[in-house]
Symmetry: C2
């Protein structure tokens, strides 16, 4: 659709785009007034930009809106959803009548975009994440050798989010020249003017410092918008930033440029006045009720069985290291596997994959938020995306993982260095809340292997699994417990010590599973039998199966975890038991309850109450 | 100590600083070799900078290392802790022998700094947070009209963290000229070289674009370091950035400038070689074992009772709005109260405080990470710091809240717009994991008021309480349930419907408490009595007291929450009951289990299984 004549777009093209922008403004206002909520002024500032994108610059097929070879659009300022929906309607993805179902319970056109809507790759609405998603789409396009260009529309309030600058640095450093960010700089935040208002030069310096080809335009001057989009498309070797000076609420003089109209729909009277000012209305028939939600979302590609792990069963190996070997083995049979790390791949061991497949490893540097959202972009192009860092540093990206779930994304995360067992580095490096954080993600699965074999098999399971999957790995070397042919169903657990005389069930995972085995062996030598369960899958849990084990040991249960007491293994088990109509008769929960401290691994397990001697003591108290 | 002669520091001062730097290098290496772990090369690149800071530029009293009128130092690159500890020892805070206890379980000198160490205001070790903390200290100093200057030392790897740029924009916009950031640019990250290595100009452009007076120096040229510190101190109207080009491992040629030495202590032989290269050792006697941990940490100031809430008991009011009124009433009697919001103060209602006390409200803009860590800086200067945004957007700052706990900080957070009850905005704006996230914070308290009176009283409670406190507020208006004289002890709950015939206990909070009351009233009209509990305090919970209630209703319990099933009210209650040796006989947990959707509030409560009719149904199933 774009005219590449050196003279720029013809006057008829300009007129067409102006008319599209006019319609987008009106439809955004009509939809939000019908809904009784929404952000029309945020839509109106960006209408000329979006019109230029959808009806001039972008290669977009309404019949195949998520095509991997079409251009992609990410609405980072997700609250301008009605504007995007209006553009999709104008482009022919669905009828305009559908817009009047905005924000209703039965409509795919929700208050903020989700990938259930054709043309949308990732949910937005939590600001500052869209540029990372766009960078992921752009990298994915490059890997696919696709001509796809990626356009990201941001607001200006969201340019205060640090993640925008993580993403910019990442894109600039990687010279992602198939990525264009258009910033709708309307100067007004939600509660007050933005930090820089219309000081365009400040924004220009920021983007230039990140390595973007940057220009400032009047975002309501349609020929200027189109010309800037042409120049962006022609730019090689750098991503591009078009900084558009705009007016919030542009088109309706009653609100244009005035604070206090963020997130406020117009009354029917205001709507009529605005439509009049914009040159007349659009007739939209009643909506017949047909949904245009996408029928299918990206899925992870299947792949043949990787080579089996080949560890020497007599040599302890850390689960974090086995994760690295697993990635390499899976990478050999799954060309879609891509991995990112937050500058700690030599600690998480994804460096093993990185060395074997450097073209499929992307250094995230110390920028976890960006790493997660870039992975969401890669996943939208059906790559099998893994991202890893220390478990505690994944807490930097909880919002991004939350939005990945709203995006129905397929994303695997690995958090290493969990718990006090990391030792001397101390609490700032100890993941003690990650199980809580990642259980509380819709549809997530949480896996916590205790040995290298289960770590490998569970990593493979994750690579085959849609949704959000989280693997918790440990720093210390631990003995190998399972044979290479062992299977690890999800949900599931392994009973590693059992007899007809078991007095208590002890559930552990990771390092505490090994402590529990030690406790069991110590107690057995003294004449007391206890059952030990390796809960390698913390979410989901088959409560009935766990209840059967606990029942067989007189209802006595000890759960021991290298994690805070809240939201972790203990609470997961109690909850699963309760769901199954069961509860322990007697219960002890060993977890980290005081702020930990530097020290040796074994010392700390003991100081913080989760070592073998504590487990034995708790078991004996119940037995 | 600094010489302000126009000719700069004398050659004897320069020689002294060089000798200090030499000693800091040696002590850092000795400490990490003794510990068998740590990051000597990260210390060695910054030794000249830290020597210049502690022994030339900073006003620092070793007998009063956390003095509010002394200069403050934040080691944002927390893994260089041994360097900081060596400087504190050289300055006389504790003997050098103490350094040899680094990273041991009984020593206050942990792997990464905590405020238990004199001179430290906030724990670091999760990169990218220190500049925000420094900005908070600087703002606090300004509020206190203190001559304090704040110095923040960052690494370069951590300049990839977006939060650094949130903090920079914030400091630049606020013209915090009592804040100097010194960046130790040694070009080597943990796993590979940093993104920009020694391209100093890129960093210079970034800081300049944020409004910093910025210069580039050779970080090992001591006269240049001292001169830059002098220029920084003399700069008015802008924060300052000194970008120091350094060499990782500077001083020991075997490692200097070489990748692969991050986080690796030197062997005894290497240590000997390094000491020789650095011109000879330092005799350090054995440590006698005396701790130098601070005897007391900042506490929140007491304040007289604020004015009582004066709501019309007949008019529903949202708990989010009551929070705003509470802040204003507390602000009137507590001059230490300071509040930040993430550009949503008109939604969280802290705007009520902001309008009354504009000098004590700081706009965080859309940058939640920075907002939380700035608050930690303010709290270190004993301000009573509150920060608010939508509950879901606080998930952007989970790592920062985690580090606030390691900092033993006193910090109050308010997350509004919790749950599906927000309605049409849809899931990207719904806080559904915040209870899980903030329960899993060491020592935290989680409060979830159901009406305006309890919201006010709990806000006041938080303002009087040390540690991390979290208030969950709701968007919809809800009826007032309590009289203005009602007290809300922590832990605690209110029994709002009870009789001797109660068949089931229903525990709700926030909007689900109101749904539970409706269910109770509906069931009562049909002849079935149920008990209704308002669990306004979700952490801590008195499990025995809850167990007594459940026991009185035949052991039948329904918990209903506007939150995911994981880590929230239901799991908190089950866990508390189990700790008390109790469990429900029959249990139903109503929570949000599917990804929510836009829609009307009441519609969504019903669609997602937590409305009055669902509660009644669950209660009848157990009764």
């Amino acid at each position: 659709m774009s005219v590449t004549s050196p003279a720029g777009p013809s006057s008829s093209v300009v007129a067409e785009i102006k008319e599209k922008a006019r319609r987008l403004r009106i439809l955004s206002m009509m939809a939000t007034t019908a809904a009784g909520s929404g952000h029309p002024t945020s839509c109106m500032s960006a209408a000329d930009l979006v019109a230029g994108l959808f009806f001039y610059a972008m290669k977009f097929d309404p019949k195949n809106a998520n095509s991997p070879d079409g251009d992609r659009f990410v609405l980072s300022k997700g609250h301008a959803a009605p504007l995007l929906y209006a553009a999709l309607a104008e482009a022919g993805v669905f009828p305009e009548s559908r817009l009047m179902t905005l924000r209703t319970a039965s409509s795919e056109l929700e208050g903020h975009p989700t990938p259930l809507i054709p043309g949308v790759d990732a949910a937005t609405g939590s600001l500052g994440q869209g540029l990372s998603v766009g960078a992921g789409l752009a990298i994915g396009a490059r890997l696919d050798q696709s001509p796809t260009r990626v356009y990201v529309l941001t607001g200006d309030g969201e340019l205060a989010e640090g993640q925008i600058w993580e993403a910019s640095a990442f894109a600039g450093h990687d010279k992602l020249d198939n990525l264009t960010v258009i910033a709708d700089i309307n100067a007004l935040g939600q509660s007050e003017p933005t930090m820089y208002e219309h000081q365009m030069d400040i924004y220009k310096k920021k983007f230039e410092s990140e390595g973007f080809a940057t220009e400032v335009i009047d975002g309501h001057d349609v020929p200027a918008v189109l010309a800037a989009l042409d120049r962006a498309k022609a730019t090689k070797g750098k991503p591009q930033a078009i900084l558009a000076r705009t007016v919030k609420g542009q088109g309706f003089s009653e609100v244009a440029g005035k604070q206090g109209w963020h997130g406020k729909p117009f009354s029917k009277d205001q709507l009529a006045a605005a439509i009049k000012e914009l040159g007349g209305g659009i007739d939209v028939p009643p909506d017949p009720g047909k949904s245009y939600a996408r029928k299918s979302l990206p899925h992870r590609a299947d792949f043949p069985p990787p080579a089996a792990p080949d560890y020497d069963p007599a040599k302890p190996l850390a689960t974090r290291e086995a994760y690295g070997y697993a990635l390499k083995r899976i990478g050999a049979v799954n060309p879609k596997l891509v991995v990112m790390s937050g500058d700690v791949d030599n600690s998480t061991f994804s460096e093993i994959f990185a060395k074997a497949y450097p073209g499929r490893f992307f250094q995230g540097y110390i920028a976890e938020q960006n790493m997660v959202s870039v992975s969401v972009g890669l996943a939208a192009r059906e790559f099998t995306a893994f991202a890893d860092t220390f478990a505690c540093f994944l807490s930097r990206a909880v919002d991004e993982v939350r939005m990945a779930a709203v995006s129905r994304s397929n994303l695997s995360l690995c958090g290493s260095h969990c718990g006090v067992s990391i030792g001397e580095d101390g609490p700032s490096q100890m993941g003690l809340e990650d199980i809580a954080n990642f259980r509380a993600v819709n549809g997530s699965q949480v896996l916590y292997p205790s040995d290298a074999i289960s770590a490998e098999r569970l990593t493979e399971y994750m690579a085959r699994t849609d949704g959000i999957t989280y693997l918790r790995t440990s720093r210390p070397k631990t003995p190998i417990l399972y044979s290479k042919d062992e299977k690890f169903p999800v949900p599931g657990f392994k009973v590693l010590r059992q007899s007809a005389q078991d007095r208590v069930t002890v559930i552990g995972a990771g390092v505490t599973l090994h402590e529990a085995l030690k406790a069991a062996d110590d107690l057995k030598a003294k004449g007391t039998a206890i059952r030990v369960i390796d809960l390698y899958c913390v979410k989901p849990i088959d409560g009935k199966a766990v209840a059967d084990q606990v029942k067989a040991t007189g209802g006595n249960l000890v759960v021991v975890e290298d994690h805070w007491a809240e939201g972790g293994v203990g609470e997961a088990v109690l909850s699963a038991l309760a769901q199954a109509g069961a509860a322990p008769a007697k219960f002890r929960h060993l977890a980290v309850t005081r702020m930990p401290h530097s020290g040796k691994e074994k010392e700390l397990l003991d100081m913080f109450g989760i070592s073998a001697s504590h487990i034995a003591e708790a078991a004996m108290a119940l037995a």
